[in-house]
């Protein structure tokens, strides 16, 4: 009978050892009380010591070439690691951006000098990156940015303002997208740079969010000097380069696992709880399974050298909706709290809820993602 002749492992259990290693690590740290699992940990869980531990184990930059400290593994291997870290709500914010998109951008477009200067620092978790993209007048419409880089002897002088810069107050380095010339189209004349955050002329001021937490910043550039060697890729070619970055930025599991700690608790509540949420839970499980499949497909596409921008946008759009809906099902499951201590008021749920408006805004608002998806459907 065809249904019983093949038994054993699931069709794709590759990277099982990597998964085991990460699980053992987070379990140890958690048992030792060195971190508390939290929602949105890739933005809000900042702990350089944890990032250092991952670096020591070679778990940062694992897709990068070995000559810059990487391990030359696939993007599906990285997905196995990032999934397990987010599942555990581990504090990964210190290395997240560098590992996810700046390192790969430097590998694709950086000069030999820039690669040697920056990549080992990311792999070692010595360097903490922030993203200098959004501006007061350039949010979803990133190409409208006004921060300028003006050519001077030996480098460039930066003038302008960035906003919503997550982690700038912790960062050692910034990826900066700035205007180097004015062309006919607003997308032309942009250039990517790598800056040291201790450069004079850079000042960081906090923007406290509605949860009372400080993750966002405003960054002011008053004639900050960046040397020629810190140009990433080609001058005036920044738009084409940054668009490629978006498939790394949008196509990963952080776009659907931000509320995973609440989902994990929901599974416990559903087992013991008074309210029957099995059907809602079934829908969530189906969506989670599909999202994990989509993330795997994006990783495969990246391994094939593609930049799956539309696929990544679709993943992010669907994933953010899932993150929100986890909270709603949890709310329903918790609604027997009159019978026992109220779970709705616990810190994990509250943290996730207060962070939730940001999920579908950062990294491309839902409406922008939909218009990006639609653009390919217009004839």
């Amino acid at each position: 009978m065809s249904s019983s002749n093949a038994v054993g492992a699931a069709p794709r259990d590759e990277h099982v050892n990597l998964r085991r290693e990460v699980r053992a690590l987070v379990e140890t740290w958690r048992q030792q009380g060195r971190y508390q699992p939290r929602s949105d940990s890739w933005l809000r869980g900042f702990d350089p010591a944890f990032s250092k531990e991952l670096a020591r184990r070679g778990l940062i930059g694992i897709t990068w070439p070995t000559d810059v400290g990487g391990r030359g593994l696939s993007n599906t291997a990285r997905l196995a690691v990032t999934e397990e870290l987010l599942r555990a709500g581990a504090p990964v914010a210190a290395h997240w951006v560098g590992d996810r998109q700046i390192g790969p951008a430097i590998i694709r477009h950086g000069s030999e000098t820039l690669r040697k200067e920056i990549l080992p620092g990311i792999v070692a978790a010595d360097y903490v990156f922030c993203l200098g993209m959004s501006e007061p007048e350039a949010g979803s419409d990133l190409a409208s940015l006004r921060t300028t880089a003006t050519k001077v002897d030996g480098g460039w002088v930066i003038k302008g303002r960035k906003i919503w810069t997550s982690g700038a107050h912790h960062a050692t380095h910034m990826y900066l997208l700035a205007r180097t010339s004015r062309g006919e189209k607003k997308q032309s004349g942009l250039t990517e740079f790598i800056l040291d955050m201790d450069t004079s002329g850079i000042s960081v001021s906090p923007i406290v969010d509605l949860a009372g937490e400080h993750h966002f910043n405003e960054v002011l550039f008053e004639d900050a000097f960046v040397p020629d060697g810190r140009v990433l890729g080609s001058i005036d070619n920044g738009w084409a380069q940054v668009v490629e970055q978006l498939s790394f930025e949008r196509g990963g599991p952080e776009r659907f696992l931000s509320t995973y700690p609440v989902f994990a608790e929901l599974l416990d509540v559903a087992r013991d709880g008074v309210i029957d949420v099995r059907a809602d839970l079934g829908h969530l499980v189906a969506r989670l399974a599909t999202l994990r499949q989509l993330a795997w497909q994006v990783a495969r596409a990246l391994d094939a050298g593609e930049a799956p921008v539309q696929q990544a946008a679709t993943l992010k759009y669907l994933g953010n909706a899932f993150e929100h809906d986890v909270l709603e099902v949890a709310r329903k499951a918790y609604s027997d709290s009159g019978l026992r201590p109220g779970r709705l008021r616990n810190d994990g749920f509250r943290q996730a809820l207060l962070a939730s408006p940001g999920y579908s805004i950062r990294g491309g608002a839902a409406e922008v993602l939909l218009s990006l998806i639609a653009r390919q459907e217009v004839k």
């Binding site: 599909t290 994990r292 759009y317 669907l318 639609a374």
Partner: protein
């Protein structure tokens, strides 16, 4: 789509031309063609009268059936003949059909009569395979004592009420497991839905690109583009879910992983069908409501087929129940792993 699947798809497309109207209670004429061309035997071994081909071929065929909205007993006949073939029970000529009860429902054969509802194509079928928590039973529908009340689903397809005496049902020993049959049938229905959603989406995309209002194609209106993209995102999910379920099913048809992957694919396809039907109509405006314009051929099937082979709610409840029962580790490693 590979070459064979593409050839089959264009064959189905040709057969379906002009034959997509809801069948309104008759065995559709296209069924004879599907049998004559051997398409009804895809996925069945040649020694039981099938045409060969594996589950991959059958899934591709199911997608074509959905894409071109072919109403016929193809899936039910195929699954019944497959299960009987695996059990070495000869199947009679004519149509075989199947009734899949909810996973926790037992078939009470202790005496008297049994009532089953919404049995596909029962009035034209020779035998009925009943899949329930009690196992797999075969019912001879040609017996005089069998009573059939004809009914149709939202797409005009035969879904009859059947009453039979207990002694008309016999256990099918050494049939594939209940899980294997359930998973195979539900996976095929997910594939059908994927095909139909794809077609409804294509029709809608073409319409909003072609139809001009306010001096430009409708798709230039951002709200319209947003709804179109919403349907596209649903379609992407359905395809991903189907691919995942297929990978698991090809590995092993009745494992816990496969059951969960099939449930996920079924639930995803059903939810997407609802969204696609609603938004396809919304984006078509008045044109989509007419009998003349073909949209209803797709949406009526989406409405009917989203609850075939176990309703969306039933599949969601059993997947959610498994998740809650097994706990987080298993949800991560078994129920949702890529």
């Amino acid at each position: 789509m590979d070459e064979t699947s593409a050839a089959v798809d264009s064959l189905i497309a040709d057969l379906a031309k002009g034959a997509q109207e809801p069948p309104a209670g008759d065995l559709p004429a296209i069924w004879t063609s599907l049998e004559d061309l051997g398409l009804a035997g895809v996925g069945l071994a040649e020694d039981v009268g099938g045409s060969g081909g594996d589950l991959t071929d059958l899934i591709a065929l199911a997608e074509s059936v959905g894409r071109h909205v072919v109403s016929s007993p193809l899936l039910e006949n195929g699954i019944a003949r497959w299960a009987l073939g695996e059990a070495n029970v000869p199947a009679p000529p004519g149509v075989c059909t199947v009734s899949m009860l909810a996973p926790d429902v037992v078939l009470n054969l202790g005496g008297g009569t049994v009532d089953l509802f919404e049995v596909p194509w029962a009035r034209h079928a020779a035998v009925l395979l009943v899949v329930s928590a009690s196992g797999v039973h075969l019912v001879d529908l040609r017996r005089e004592s069998v009573r059939i009340v004809p009914r149709v689903n939202e797409a005009g397809e035969e879904r009859d009420d059947v009453t039979f005496n207990c002694d008309a049902a016999v256990v099918v020993a050494s049939a594939p497991s209940v899980a294997a049959i359930r998973n195979r049938l539900a996976l095929l229905w997910a594939a059908v839905l994927a095909g139909t959603i794809e077609s409804a989406y294509g029709l809608t995309r073409d319409y909003v690109n072609g139809r001009e209002q306010f001096g430009a194609p409708l798709v230039r209106i951002p709200a319209v583009a947003g709804l179109l993209a919403t349907v596209k995102a649903e379609l992407v999910q359905v395809e991903a879910g189907l691919q995942r379920a297929k990978d698991h099913a090809l590995h092993r048809l009745d494992s816990a992983e496969t059951t969960a992957a099939v449930a996920a694919a079924r639930v995803t396809a059903a939810r997407a069908a609802t969204v696609a039907a609603r938004l396809a109509h919304q984006l078509h405006g008045g044109m989509g409501i007419t009998a003349e314009y073909p949209l209803h051929l797709y949406t009526s099937r989406l409405w009917a087929w989203r609850d075939e082979a176990g309703s969306e709610h039933q599949w969601a409840t059993s997947l959610g129940g498994a998740a809650a029962g097994l706990g987080e580790d298993a949800v991560w490693d078994v129920l949702t792993s890529p």
